[in-house]
Symmetry: D2
Subunit: 290 residues, 4 copies
């Protein structure tokens, strides 16, 4: 990994990177990003945004460009979707993260997004990585379905080498032989990233498991493993979702998850202080998990 | 999964199984099993047993028969190893779990062991499964390196169908393309097992990660995901270990891990009570994680 | 691989091993092993044996002990099955290969079998490997579902280190993400084995693909890749087969496959001679493929 | 697969697609595409082009844009490389296939290329697929490292749905746990594609194995499995290659491979005719393999 000069610590006592998205400091606070898989309509996006804001989410997610396995599946609303996300941000104040899939779109999508997401199928889309590397805009880089930590960090390196240092990694499950879950969430990558790199890492248990019942336990486990946050899919009415309906939390379920996360942070944070762990600008849970 | 009449709930509101090993109730309390990969000598096993007892472990692990990839690697001490484990149990009072690899050994190894372990490479050794199915002795069934949840539960079904209902599942990492970790610990299998089956499940972060630095965060994440316990490798002097030395905790590190686990249990248990979660005979953490 | 003193060439110009099963010399002639997945009845096994003999097969396969994922699936006829295989051998003169799954059975099953098969799920059943290593009987060692070449050769090493030098490797497909085929046949392992080891290697396209339509092209491709033979499932009436019915060739299809293999051998063998390739005791096709 | 209206046969007796590249008819003749991994210099590309032309290759390959895991590796010569390929085509008359990695490049790269290649890491780069779908130019679509047949055909569907019917599939090895080979060449996908789809399929044994010694046996096995051709890496001086030097054939080795392929085609083609197989516009070998 020595070749990866910018993304890997290589033994140097580098300061951990904190990526600022709007007023949210990822890498410092435990962050919750929530919202629909894709923006489907004004009412769907706004209602969902209000619900996640009310429950305490820190950032809004929503896709306007959807990379879909089949050309006949819903491909997203495009510019119209971005405009709806802008309305949601204006109303809720939540910073917006949205996916970009084409190097030609990077510049103008950046006008609407607070953070650009590179999806799992585009992790090694090097043209796209180079393009977001030229922007002054945070990038959320999802891990490829089949990729190793080294390959993932090499993709982060493409962005960093382009001059953009605001990269957040997102573990979203890898493909394995298990069929009960949609993918296999690799939580051991969280402390592994902390060990090797200075970049923040969050976890997406929605795509990682693909099962409603597993999202809460895996969110808590992500927190315990030291993640800097989670990203979850929420839909104001999951039964009507145009994509990923089986893994979309309702506002009620999301609110329950937020309650648990807060209680855990409270309970464990208190202990951490009592436990006299040196606190140096990071959230207490991640410290406790190291 | 409907075919799996004994291991799977199939919609019925079955009571969760509690497996009693000595005085330890697995499936009720969060259990910590610790000890060396293999029994190497009297002093190694006894010193390690004393250390894990002192730190608060509930059960002692140690291999007398070691399935090794190469025929030229250390294969375990056999009967001599079992006798050393017996001494360790007598002195510490800790119940002993040890691996059995041959159907011809099941009966006499049972004289020495409080729980029989079926290793990952033997998960689908059906002759061995049938043999332990005839015993009145708890069985710890590790997940195969490549196996799905359904295949794993089918192997548990072999044991249950033989008449032995005392089965504990153990997630120990599956083989993926990631090379930074030895295997990939699949923590989402923990709530998946809870959802489908009534059997207890514990996690082995030592084999699951193969890296000392990842054992603690993944132990805490296992607890958060709702596991009924963990199994970790401890060696009184890891530098001298004959196998798996890179993943063996020293007594000092193990003691630190136990402290953290206790604090988390305390902190979260308290909250759970306050949170008015219905408590029905299971440890508060697992409840919190559901 | 240097540790594998017996199975790997390690640069030495070792003579290729020829394993003699009855009058069949595996590693010299291109060999076809055929027969039912499992022995189901006298009429099924005898009719199938007659059919494969008539079509030109060199050896008969048939399982009396079936390792099955579920305990409720047909587990084989056991001793009764072995006696039926003995009848089939007496009538057709074909040597018999049958699977052994339990170290306690190795000795007495050897009384009935001309070659013992170690199945894919038992590749790393080291007790079983050690037991067949003590016998003076050829062993067909199938590759594990998930195993690397090194792990496979290490298992061959267990048998060789026990004193039994008559080992034949059998590629039968590995588990991948592809679902159209039952497994993924790894034909590149054939020339890889030839390069590293002196042991013969055959290919099982029935389990390797799990699809009737793919067996013929993959048999021809195995021959082209330099394999020492193939093993295919044939059933005198596939619609009635108790296991693997979707991949069992009828006698008519098998006979057609044999015709093609013979023609290819004729056509290519002729060319090989013309092509002035040095022929040194191996079948011309494998030479051509090197 | 029913959703895939254009790429899948769905039971209809569709005529097989023949894709014409220059004067080469892929899907009718067994085609050999050869050339360097990347265009490195005028002399390297021209010398290699002359060598593969002389040995009988039908098409020239060569990369001007190289998707590389690390941003610090050689990324290709870009336009300069395309101009060199143009010179090579002018001199040798061989049609040229070259990779395109960015939707912005598709239009102008098409001015230089006779066929556009979509690389394995871009198989699911849907923006790129849509862009080549608008062109009137043959497309060589490599299979993703981890992708299933269904996912692969869905990507072909993106191109076909855009109006471009000239798609050739290329199997180039999938990622498995085997480490001896760079990837695992899945030859069973060849007859599987023939069964499901009407599109031609070729095999790349260079990337598929990553080992010089395995390219020839796997080329012959590809032919035997019914492939419509192969694509291999050749370098006029492999020791100096800037990428993939371990898998680049020298002109001498490539010439030897071509001799074997021709002899096999001759020998088997003759037999096929004698064997009275109905010949309907496809090369005799592929027919023999069905």
């Amino acid at each position: 990994m020595n070749q990866l000069k910018l993304s890997v610590k290589n033994g140097k006592p580098l300061k951990r990177t904190v990526v600022t998205v709007g007023s949210v400091r990822v890498g410092e606070d435990f962050v919750v990003i929530a919202g629909p898989c894709s923006v489907e309509s004004e009412i769907q996006a706004l209602e969902t945004a209000r619900a996640v804001k009310k429950a305490g989410a820190n950032m809004l997610r929503g896709g306007a460009f959807k990379p879909r396995t089949s050309p006949y599946d819903f491909q997203g609303l495009g510019l119209k979707g971005l405009k709806i996300l802008e309305m949601a941000r204006r109303e809720t104040g939540l910073p917006v993260v949205t996916e970009v899939t084409d190097p030609r779109d990077v510049s103008w999508v950046s006008e609407y997004a607070d953070m650009l997401q590179i999806g799992t199928r585009n992790m090694q889309n090097f043209s796209l990585l180079k393009e977001v590397g030229k922007m002054n805009k945070p990038v959320l880089l999802k891990r490829g379905l089949y990729s190793t930590l080294k390959e993932w960090l090499s993709c982060a390196e493409y962005i960093l080498a382009g001059g953009n240092s605001q990269v957040i990694l997102c573990e979203r499950g890898i493909r394995t032989f298990e069929t009960y879950t949609r993918n296999t969430l690799d939580l051991s990558i969280v402390p592994a990233v902390k060990e090797l790199s200075h970049l923040p890492i969050i976890v997406d248990p929605s795509h990682g498991t693909g099962r409603l019942s597993l999202i809460e336990p895996m969110s808590l486990a992500s927190l315990a493993a030291g993640a800097d946050g989670i990203m979850v899919e929420v839909h104001y009415n999951p039964a009507e979702a145009l994509c990923d309906k089986d893994q979309a939390l309702s506002p009620v379920l999301f609110s329950g998850l937020m309650d648990k996360l807060r209680h855990w942070q409270g309970a464990l944070g208190t202990w951490t202080a009592e436990g006299a762990v040196a606190v140096s600008g990071r959230h207490p849970l991640a410290l406790a998990a190291r």
